[in-house]
Symmetry: C3
Subunit: 372 residues, 3 copies
Amino acid sequence: MPSSGNAVTIFLRKPMNWFLLFIPFTVALEHVHSIPAPVLFFSAALAIVPIAGLIVASTEQLSTRTGDAIGGLLNATFGNAPELIIALVALKAGLLDMVRASLAGAILANLLMALGVAFLLGGLRFKEQRFNPVATRAYSTMMFVAAVSMTVPSAFNRAFATQGGPIREEKMLNIGIAVLLLLAYGLYLLFSLKTHPHAFASVESGQSGGHDLDEHWSVTRAIVTLVLASAGAAWMSEILVGAAEGTGKALGMSQVFIGIVFVAIVGGAAESGSAIAMGRKNKMDLSVGIALGSCIQIALFVAPVLVLASYFLAPRPLELAFGRAEIGSLFMAVLCGALVCGDGQSNWYKGIQLLTVYAIIALMFYFMPAAT
Amino acid sequence: MPSSGNAVTIFLRKPMNWFLLFIPFTVALEHVHSIPAPVLFFSAALAIVPIAGLIVASTEQLSTRTGDAIGGLLNATFGNAPELIIALVALKAGLLDMVRASLAGAILANLLMALGVAFLLGGLRFKEQRFNPVATRAYSTMMFVAAVSMTVPSAFNRAFATQGGPIREEKMLNIGIAVLLLLAYGLYLLFSLKTHPHAFASVESGQSGGHDLDEHWSVTRAIVTLVLASAGAAWMSEILVGAAEGTGKALGMSQVFIGIVFVAIVGGAAESGSAIAMGRKNKMDLSVGIALGSCIQIALFVAPVLVLASYFLAPRPLELAFGRAEIGSLFMAVLCGALVCGDGQSNWYKGIQLLTVYAIIALMFYFMPAAT
Amino acid sequence: MPSSGNAVTIFLRKPMNWFLLFIPFTVALEHVHSIPAPVLFFSAALAIVPIAGLIVASTEQLSTRTGDAIGGLLNATFGNAPELIIALVALKAGLLDMVRASLAGAILANLLMALGVAFLLGGLRFKEQRFNPVATRAYSTMMFVAAVSMTVPSAFNRAFATQGGPIREEKMLNIGIAVLLLLAYGLYLLFSLKTHPHAFASVESGQSGGHDLDEHWSVTRAIVTLVLASAGAAWMSEILVGAAEGTGKALGMSQVFIGIVFVAIVGGAAESGSAIAMGRKNKMDLSVGIALGSCIQIALFVAPVLVLASYFLAPRPLELAFGRAEIGSLFMAVLCGALVCGDGQSNWYKGIQLLTVYAIIALMFYFMPAAT
């Protein structure tokens, strides 16, 4: 058992935790009135990265104490807490375009960027890496269902929304789809944790399904960390979201680009980091599971929760009405992911393929005129 | 050999056959002038279900007497007779939108609903069910070719049709594609019945390719049943189609929703029922074969026959000009089916995935304003 | 070692080489002023077929002398020289629509027609043919990345191009994507020639990766042939491109149809011929490798080179702004190819499936009004 002093030493030994210094720095910056928005934005972004890491770490600590099923449930529910918190803050501020962009961007970042870097770096160390193709196909199909669930209300909006905003039928459709997705997500947890956990087992015999923890926290410490980190994430998110508009203007970037690239990467940094680290350790099942599992959570849990929450929190309801470019990118990413991962093997060039698609999509959003 | 009296007992022992009472009931209802359209519509729908069952049963009886190749041909040609009869009646009545909706809906109902229920109910009894992945890939590719063959004329129509209806080139394109599809269908029968029947063989050694029949009919009985049931189907279809418009108005549903959900389910009830029953008996190859084979027949045989027949029967020619929502749904269903079935395994959650996509699509058509 | 006279005999023994007589014939025709454009067009087309064969043959001869890596590079770079030369000539003439149509058409012709004929003819001789599914999946993913890279600028153009032509951002996007594609292509060569050549190895043990050459040329002869044939290709291409417009008008065909079907088939005739010949010899890995490899070269090497070259050669820059019909066809072809080839097996009916999709697409372009 490490003593408290020892715990601090361990804490400071991780370079990631030094980034926590960006929290007081960001708070201080906020009181400097002449500060340029981009400085504030990127300072808050850098502060969120270690906070997201702490949320993920304390959830994992809690989940090891609770048995597989509840632990899996905890991980599944809190795993995307950073994305959820940022999106809720943006929702409350009425920045619905940024909420949608950050949802789509989080899926693109996990599916194309995190997995692409994991395949590339893993593939540079190991000639051929293998993972469970049955699990990957289950993930791919879920991703496809998720893409369908986002396409339908988007197409509906484009076809039928009037000048005065969405029609009544569109609201009903969005609520209906949100309820269906939450149901499908609940059954997915039942399937993956209870009835068919073996389908998600690793191809390498010795590898456990869970994360290797280098330290063990008490339950109190885990809960306190989780609560504090969540509060910190909410605080920094408010500063981040508040500075987003000014940042876009200062750097000549559209709101959609800021949301789909920067906000999405910041929210998912903890998981992207884990997926990449596992890829470099040749634990491909964990790597693919984290990256694709995170996409599924965002599409089937975070997105419908935001739709339903918008009726209580937001100035106006959130519809899953993505633009053509976002929906097109999602479909291309999902099909590309299914093609790349479908055979349960990876190599460095598969990473390049995913990253090329990500780069093409990012370029498109970068050059897209702001009016749309 | 069962005596005639015995045959009646067997006949009445099947709960399905009691539904035949809906035939006289529907005919009687039709003469009550104040009857609400939905009552007549659903009564005719319930009458068609056992008639469709009789058509399928008599075709199977005939096909066991004729040897494999001719039997297969008979099954392939008359297997979707109920859908064809309903569509021909609607075609004659000039309800081209309903014809198109029922074609698209029949594919969605077979691919997503029937297969989804079969996977779900089968998967609740058997942890993992297996089927021949080579056959499934052949079906998936055929489905994809079929989706392409429907997309091309639909896109053409959207781009080039004028106020005054389709241009001459569009009619030529539709006839050309119809001829190509019938050619491809003929060669598909040659492939699956003559040159490569083994590719469609069941993965379980003992399982025969054909249906288990609990009774054997004489050829005369089979032919008489087929003729009478077809006539009955045509009669009930006329009442069904005639009441469709009034039903939509009374229930506040669009014509497209009535066609794509109710008419499609009624026409395919017999086959959907078989596919689900086979899934529950763990005969997955038959289940998948019936559901996907039926989709292929509709797209490659029923649809082009209707296009060509419209030049003789319908007040104006039928173009395969589906709306965006229908084409989008078809593509999503086909890709989803290919992803779900591609590995030759199923479980209860794959059923949920297919049903979720079906529910999302049905919700969309339900909420879609009638104007489109 | 064949003597020089012997070489001429061998040369004339190939029926293909007799087509070289179309070169002087075309040149003569060009000076007859009243000659109808279609006669000149098809004469030049027939002249290009054997020239393309000579370019491919001399590249192969050179590549056998240089070791695997350099040889592979040579083949990869000059393999689509005929397409590149025709496109450069059309680019210089400012026929940007024809350049785009011939790029899209070359992919369709290789992926659907050449492979379809190879599967059909091969499958008529051999019941079941097998090839390396790992390599095919790598090709499919590359094709998908290529389709994405063409979709993004096309959608961008449709959404944002103004009356006065493409906006500045669109040009930047096109240049950015062209650079990304060339990078991805360079890394693909590194992957397939250096780090993972085994992934592209043939499934049949005895079969070598290279082509069987029935004769060996001296390096001088190979280089002289390559230079002369390239010059001849450029000459005939100028006549071909010059007569294209008149041919379209005379035969009532749109420029897009001429480009997407005729020009594309002419440019790829040499490789299509090889792919089909290998299919008939049951060398399916070579057949699939030639057909799909050629598609990848066109999308990842020829297309970006043309975009960049247009800034120096063409009257205005070339954008990868394909029409909806072209992009839709490309995606359908790529997904269809992935479904058909994904399991590493082929039979005659898979050929029919590919050819049906090709025929449907060709019909669409044939009937498409010229205005679009």
